[in-house]
Homo-oligomer: 331 residues x 2
């Protein structure tokens, strides 16, 4: 790899002049400039980002830490983050933790040590202390979807309203025995949806049927298992909310296997819709969060925080997006 020094030698000037010419950071005589450009081109010069970053203390890069990418809303959010970051001249580095706190810890440590100016995280919730440390050390942090730490900005959907409205929707469609397939309650999104569900069920005078399972939270099996449990334990069940699409697929499979017709006998709605819901044979009604927009907003927020002068960093804020009902064939 050619370095500044190589270019300087070839162009017969000092490295500082080369730096100034290439960065347009002060006037350089046009002739000199031309010689420098020619030399840089001839050598195929590319600045070493590590050295630049070390020197400048800025790398125009944000890190994104997500629990999973495969069949999850995060891959959609990511597209928004990347777009937002790109618009503002930042690049994006993604770390996928598979919801493993140990992996997450390693990712965060790696990112903090000079890789990025800011971090957007949908965390496992098990590294709160580390996240706070990182923020305290001057790296901008924004939480997305999974809000965990107070005092740190976050972008979320209105999970409670989401659960609440879904119940009302099914009720209005005629359901009177509605189940909820959930997830780990130490995570805000699942907890919020349960609360909304409870509130609605209570208000409507219905029974509460909340079902969890030991399978991996974001999985087909989780939905399948819960659906079977609900069917066994709840005579008259006629509607079910699945926390995420992939659970919904499992639920649909369980219903199909028992010969139960959707939506005639049981209606199914997913509380975290992403594109896949519309592609199914019986397409799935979903509450959808504006994933793309939320990602873009997160990028804007974290970059805003990065670029704010040290004496007036913005206060942490929480932006809540409404979810919207997308009606399809499963209800």
């Amino acid at each position: 790899m050619a370095t500044l020094k190589d270019v300087a030698r070839l162009a017969c000037v000092d490295v500082s002049t080369v730096s100034r010419a290439l960065n347009n950071t002060s006037y350089v005589h046009p002739d000199t400039k031309e010689r420098i450009y020619a030399a840089a081109k001839e050598l195929g010069y590319h600045p070493n980002i590590m050295a630049q970053a070390l020197r400048q203390g800025k790398r125009h890069t944000i890190g994104v830490v997500v629990p999973r990418l495969h069949l999850a809303i995060f891959s959609e959010i990511l597209q928004g983050i990347e777009l937002g970051a790109r618009k503002l001249g930042y690049a994006t580095l993604i770390c996928n933790t598979e919801d493993d706190p140990t992996v997450e810890r390693d990712c965060l440590n790696r990112l903090r040590n000079g890789f990025v100016d800011g971090i957007i995280i949908a965390g496992t919730g098990r590294n709160g202390r580390l996240v706070r440390d990182i923020r305290a050390s001057g790296i901008a942090v924004v939480q997305i979807v999974r809000q965990q730490e107070g005092g740190i900005s976050s972008i979320v959907a209105d999970y409670e309203a989401c659960g609440y409205e879904a119940v009302y929707y099914l009720y209005q469609k005629g359901c009177r025995e509605i189940g909820l397939i959930g997830g780990s309650l130490h995570l805000a999104p699942y907890r919020g949806r349960l609360e909304g569900y409870r509130k609605a069920v209570k208000t409507l005078g219905l029974r509460e049927n909340f079902q969890q399972s030991n399978y991996l939270m974001n999985s087909f099996e989780y939905g399948y298992e819960c659906m079977n449990q609900l069917l066994d334990n709840t005579p008259g069940l006629d509607g079910v909310l699945a926390a995420v699409d992939i659970q919904g697929l499992g639920a649909i499979r369980a219903l199909t296997e028992r010969g139960i017709r959707i939506p005639e006998q049981v209606k199914v709605i997913s509380l975290t819709g992403h594109a896949v819901g519309g592609m199914l044979e019986t397409s799935m009604t979903s509450m959808e969060m504006p994933a793309h927009e939320m990602g873009e907003k997160a990028a804007e927020m974290v970059i805003g925080e990065i670029e704010a002068p040290a004496d007036k960093k913005p206060s942490p804020q929480c932006v809540t997006f409404a979810t919207v009902l997308v009606e399809r064939e499963s209800t």
Copy 2:
């Protein structure tokens, strides 16, 4: 952020001693060591990776460039890459290009300039020159899935066999008029599958029905549109191969809308199965490549290349994995 110097000052030793102690790179008196550890802990010291990398010329990080993550095989391959890299002490930085050559170019340039020791890429095929340049500049490169540049190692599935076997399978199931939904033929995987399809169809004395569309290649609409075209143009169609799962979903939708029953009237098989195929209401028969294993292998290869001494870098090699038929309900 505390630096080596801060630790040195607090422990009353030279920075070089601190470096040696913390890295266990030569003997340091136990007492000194203890003082240093205490100091590092007290200050919450974390080494600056940029500085380390600049100094050592190694960063123990590989970059992964993929065309998309949402609903694609790449998110599954990624899990394998990450596991393989982690096992060997490397971290992974992911760049998602959305199959846009311009974005890809920027990603590659960013990665080459000091961010990573090696790159695993499933490319757009439009930055071949740049990829070769990067490799020539000493950064290890491995291509995955999409083999584009000769002279650069690659990990692929046997696309031709995949297309060939799928046709034979459908034939043996009774199909006599088999269509293929394809993708961009400048990409090796699509081209290979078409070749296999053609060969099989010819051998069996069947008609060739290859269909493309103008929609985004890896999309539901692509499959939907192609399926409708095939149905309109091919009386007696009784089997169809979709290049990727998501096209298969579109095809199934098109069939369902016309009241055509799967698999009784038309059988559907996907040539790039990933987990979603098994989760559908009518689960989809697929040719599956060992995505996880391929990812892990790619990580091993690129790291092997990184760590080989400069005088005996391994020669580029191409590893081909067999795809396996997973029979489900759509055939």
